[in-house]
């Protein structure tokens, strides 16, 4: 297309200036080969002028047999911007840990240049590779080439989402279980639930190797898997002393910042009361050469986090305080099966599992999935006396005090 036919984008051009990399430049660059980008820019410029979006949500586009992985999108001004009249998104399962070779990147680029706008997100909020913008007729051909290259679609709608994980043992000394393997196993295990929406609403799983939670699992996953350890923090006293000599104020910056004040520094030696450690990671973060997570490793499983829609935002809360690493996958599969069974049966349309638990109560949920209550599950026991006693228990002989 000749330059004089390119859309006038006075407002967007402003966003080509400045030091941070510019998405407008990216769209224009893709537009050198893909004319749909010109209409995308034209419509976006109009949104900037009018302060309003111009997309409509599609409902039924997808690839044959799948109900997930494609987000239908149509312009509400198809006459004005015919090249983006259809502009659907494809979500593609990312390799665990977002590792690639240059060849894999080029393969993805070639497919998307042939069948779509040439615009991507690396990556979307959930973690998928996002292919941004194509016509309905290109969905099947793109899918065919993707699967032939070893890639598959992610989830959307009332379905499992592609799980995601932190960099884990691939490049982090703190990872308390194999986040990549767990994420990859779960992604493969639940392809059906990802591609053929079976649930009341979405279900997300995120795997973080340590309590620093680099994939925000506690805020964003229905099932949060956060690595932790049970034994003592591994401690290299010589390295601690070296940090002190290098100017780190261990008392102020490490001990006083410990949430349970479980450590003391006498100027020579750091003493940690590991029984009182809550595994927050602060001291380890500050002195990575001197302190390391222990060796009895595994994960804490938490349940229920979500963004505000519908009934308000939730953080995940503890479901299983500790699962040893070698039992993790089996425990997860069994637990997920029971959780889904309950949610399938009782969840309302668009009710995330966290909201269902809020509605029916955690204790009832625990009963349903066959877990015993544990004090790690609560910040504190209830402070209100409106207790729903179960009939059979109230009728039974009272247990002796202190039993």
């Amino acid at each position: 297309m000749a330059d004089d036919q390119k859309p006038k984008t006075k407002l967007l051009d402003e966003l080509e200036k400045g030091p941070w990399p510019s998405f407008v430049k990216e769209i224009k660059q893709a537009g050198e080969k893909s004319p749909v980008c010109d209409d995308l820019l034209g419509q976006l410029e109009l949104s900037y002028e009018e302060k309003k979006g111009h997309w409509k949500h599609g409902g039924i586009v997808g690839v044959l047999g799948y109900g997930g992985g494609v987000i239908g999108r149509y312009s509400d001004l198809p006459d004005k911007f015919p090249n983006v009249a259809h502009f659907h998104t494809m979500r593609v399962n990312q390799p665990a840990g977002w590792f690639y070779t240059s060849d894999a990147i080029r393969t993805l680029c070639d497919i998307w240049e042939r069948h779509g706008s040439g615009l991507t997100n690396m990556h979307g909020s959930t973690g998928d590779i996002i292919f941004l913008g194509t016509k309905t007729s290109e969905l099947e051909p793109a899918f065919k080439e993707l699967t032939e290259a070893g890639f598959d679609l992610g989830g959307s709608g009332s379905a499992m989402r592609t799980p995601s994980c932190c960099v884990g043992p691939a490049r982090c000394e703190w990872s308390c279980y194999d986040t990549l393997k767990t994420c990859d196993d779960l992604t493969r295990q639940y392809q059906d639930e990802m591609h053929r929406p079976p649930f009341p609403y979405k279900f997300k799983i995120k795997c973080s190797g340590c309590p620093n939670d680099c994939v925000a699992s506690i805020a964003r996953a229905d099932l949060s898997i956060i690595g932790t350890w049970k034994d003592d923090i591994r401690q290299d006293d010589a390295a601690v002393a070296q940090y002190a000599r290098a100017g780190l104020d261990i008392r102020k910056d490490v001990c006083d910042r410990c949430p349970t004040r479980c450590m003391e520094w006498d100027g020579q030696k750091l003493a940690i009361n590991n029984r009182e450690c809550v595994h927050c990671m602060h001291c380890i973060n500050v002195m990575p050469k001197a302190l390391r997570p222990g060796q009895e490793r595994g994960a804490t499983l938490l349940i229920g986090s979500k963004a505000p829609i519908v009934q308000g935002a939730l953080l995940s809360s503890v479901l299983v305080p500790f699962v040893p690493e070698n039992e993790l996958m089996d425990t997860l599969k069994e637990l997920i099966r029971r959780i889904w069974e309950f949610w399938d049966e009782y969840g309302n349309n668009r009710e995330r599992v966290g909201e269902l638990i809020q509605r029916v109560g955690m204790a009832n949920f625990l009963d349903a999935i066959g877990l015993d209550p544990a004090p790690e599950m609560v910040a504190a026991p209830r402070d209100n006396p409106y207790i729903f006693f179960q009939k059979e228990e109230a009728a039974a002989e009272p247990e002796p005090a202190g039993a």
Partner: protein, 80 residues
Amino acid sequence: MADVNAVAEEMYKLVAEFFGKKNLKAGDLTKAMIEKFGADCTKTDCKLAIRQLMESGRCVYSYFGGSYITLPHKEGAAPE
């Protein structure tokens, strides 16, 4: 084990009956089939039946804040 073909056929009837009136989710169809066929019909049978309906193109998934199973149709948002 129920006959998956028979389950698929009953599901299709239900989807066709409610088309344009009420959106049915995979869970709604599964519950209805288990009620109709009794304990013989498992969730796995229903899953396979849905898969058959989708892969033959007789039914499609639709999305409006939730994923539903419906008959193929031209969607409202699509341009002419």
